[in-house]
């Protein structure tokens, strides 16, 4: 800085700033829903931040205690409404664990394909909205939505609905896919990398993005583990913890894929880890559509439970099923008392727990960076508040 005026400003430290308490949200376009942050500012720097949530609280867990096991399935769509199928997956796994239902081979593959397509949708939309938070209004979002639309059309053909899919059943999936499904997934697998290349050309080496995102909102490794952070946020901090690799649930043990990790744990790493994860998802998809066998899509017990939900007998006990949802570890803790309804139904929502470290990441940052740090955690309020 050679400007003499600014040098004078530096020398005069008499310009005291006043502490200012600002309530960001809940009606704020960049809080990704009705989320509130009570921020204390010193000039432009954040010195305290308290997240306030609950504006979208529907007492999901209490509602489910009055539902049959199957009737909970469409409600899980509404948790993280960008990734309905990933939520279905986790819930179905937990109930299958509790009731001991087997899943046929073809259904396993369909589940993995749908879950990975959901991951693509989530990450591509996140990247778009992160850029929106940065101030690149709607160009990247609309590029992302254009691609997302192709996947949503596919979802509509398979499940009947674009977003609220309600596709998984205990012991399989609701119905077999249309005959051109594999072809269309293959087309996506071929086309999507080209789109990703284009998006990366637009963003990855863009100097404006680099200077806004690098070294902003750093999350240290030790804190990330201690605070139970999962998903891309954890991996951006440099810990290769992916439940698909660790638990090998469903059939993830059969696929070859790498777990991308970041180095610095800043906003830029979180962005880039997601781009790399999408490329790995495409790898999984390619392997899955090459290997998918023919056969039943739902087991006999499952088909009966789907046709007559009251006949599903879930033995007494509790189970915890967890999957690697696009936002992190999504777990369902279920307690059954032997009646037709869950006695206790708890959702371990990844974006809710990832918010624990929001204050730690934001302290000392500028107020404009708070928005992108929140954006990079990737929260969906349907899941945070439940």
């Amino acid at each position: 800085m050679n400007c003499p005026y600014l040098q004078n400003m530096d020398q005069q430290s008499t310009l005291d700033t006043q502490r200012l308490e600002v309530s960001l949200g809940p009606q704020h376009p960049s809080t990704h829903g009705v989320f509130q942050m009570d921020v204390v500012l010193d000039g432009e720097q954040v010195i305290r931040l308290k997240p306030v949530m609950g504006y979208l609280h529907r007492n999901h867990e209490k509602l489910m205690e009055n539902m049959s096991w199957l009737a909970c399935m469409p409600y899980t769509d509404r948790l993280d409404y960008f990734c309905a199928l990933a939520n279905n997956f986790s819930y179905a796994l937990a109930v299958e664990k509790l009731a001991g239902i087997e899943v046929p081979e073809r259904a396993q593959y369909l589940r993995v394909i749908m879950a990975e397509l959901t991951r693509l949708i989530n990450h591509i939309v996140l990247v778009g909205f992160l850029l929106n938070d940065l101030g690149a209004f709607f160009t990247p979002v609309l590029y992302a939505f254009r691609e997302r639309e192709k996947l949503l059309d596919l979802f509509e053909d398979v499940t009947g609905s674009r977003m609220m899919c309600n596709y998984f059943r205990f012991g399989g999936v609701k119905r077999d896919v249309p005959p051109d499904f594999i072809l269309r997934v293959r087309e996506i697998v071929n086309q999507f990398p080209k789109f990703l290349d284009e998006l990366e050309e637009l963003l990855t080496h863009n100097e404006i993005l680099l200077s806004r995102c690098q070294n902003v909102g750093i999350l240290p490794k030790a804190l990330a583990v201690n605070a139970g952070i999962t998903g891309p946020v954890l991996r951006a901090s440099g810990i290769p913890y992916d439940i698909r690799k660790i638990d090998k649930y469903s059939i993830y043990g059969r696929f070859k894929f790498r777990v991308p990790v970041g180095e610095a744990g800043d906003v830029y790493d979180r962005y880039y880890v997601r781009i790399l994860e999408m490329r790995e998802s495409l790898q999984i998809l390619e392997q899955a559509i090459n290997e998918i066998p023919d056969g039943e899509v739902i087991s006999k017990a499952g088909a009966q439970a789907a046709k007559m939900p009251r006949t599903l007998k879930v033995p007494k006990g509790d189970a915890y099923g967890r999957t690697e949802a696009p936002k992190g570890e999504l777990g369902f803790y279920l307690v059954s008392d032997g009646s037709g309804k869950p006695y206790r139904y708890h959702v371990r929502a990844p974006s809710f727990i990832n918010l624990t470290v929001l204050e730690d990441m934001c302290i000392g940052q500028k107020v404009a960076d708070v928005i992108i740090i929140l954006g990079s955690i990737d929260i969906v309020l349907g899941e945070v508040d439940r």
């Binding site: 139970g228 371990r348 727990i353």
Partner: protein, 150 residues
């Protein structure tokens, strides 16, 4: 990962407490919980550094808090720990100082089930508003539309 029996043995000899195993989970007395928790986290043989889920269940006679522990370093888990407490004066020592991930989840359990976590730095309601009466996930909570029977 060590079996649940071995973990039970190790805790019993170290802390001199009686632990029972119920449905693949350890039932731990609440008085010793913070010490046992920091032992499970720091001991290199176990190193359960990742507390995945904290939640509670109302069993009408008592409340039960469930912890699911995993180890990120050793890539093993889960170790399920259950602690029972009286329903009318539900109090359990907080583990926020050991695992930060308990911070919001304990607040949630306090809000929805009315379990007081002693030593929690900021135990307020998290989803329901200030001044809300009752704890919705308790089984005796009266909902507004009781007439809609299923």
């Amino acid at each position: 990962m060590k079996t649940i029996e071995e973990i039970k043995q190790a805790i019993e000899t170290k802390f001199g407490v009686q632990i029972s195993i119920e449905n693949n989970s350890l039932l731990i007395p609440k008085e010793k919980w913070p010490e046992i928790a920091s032992f499970l986290k720091t001991d290199p043989e176990y190193s359960f550094d990742y507390l995945s889920s904290v939640t509670g269940t109302d069993y009408k006679d008592y409340l039960e808090v469930v912890y699911h522990l995993y180890s990120m370093g050793r890539e093993c888990g889960p170790l399920v720990i259950k602690i029972r407490t009286d329903r009318n004066a539900a109090q359990i020592p907080s583990v926020v100082s050991i695992w930060r991930s308990a911070e919001f989840q304990e607040r949630e359990a306090y809000d929805l089930l009315g379990i007081h976590f002693e030593g929690h730095p900021d135990l307020r309601r998290i989803f329901m508003w200030e001044g809300f009466v009752g704890h919705p996930l308790r089984k005796d909570y009266v909902t507004e539309d009781q007439d809609r029977k299923i």
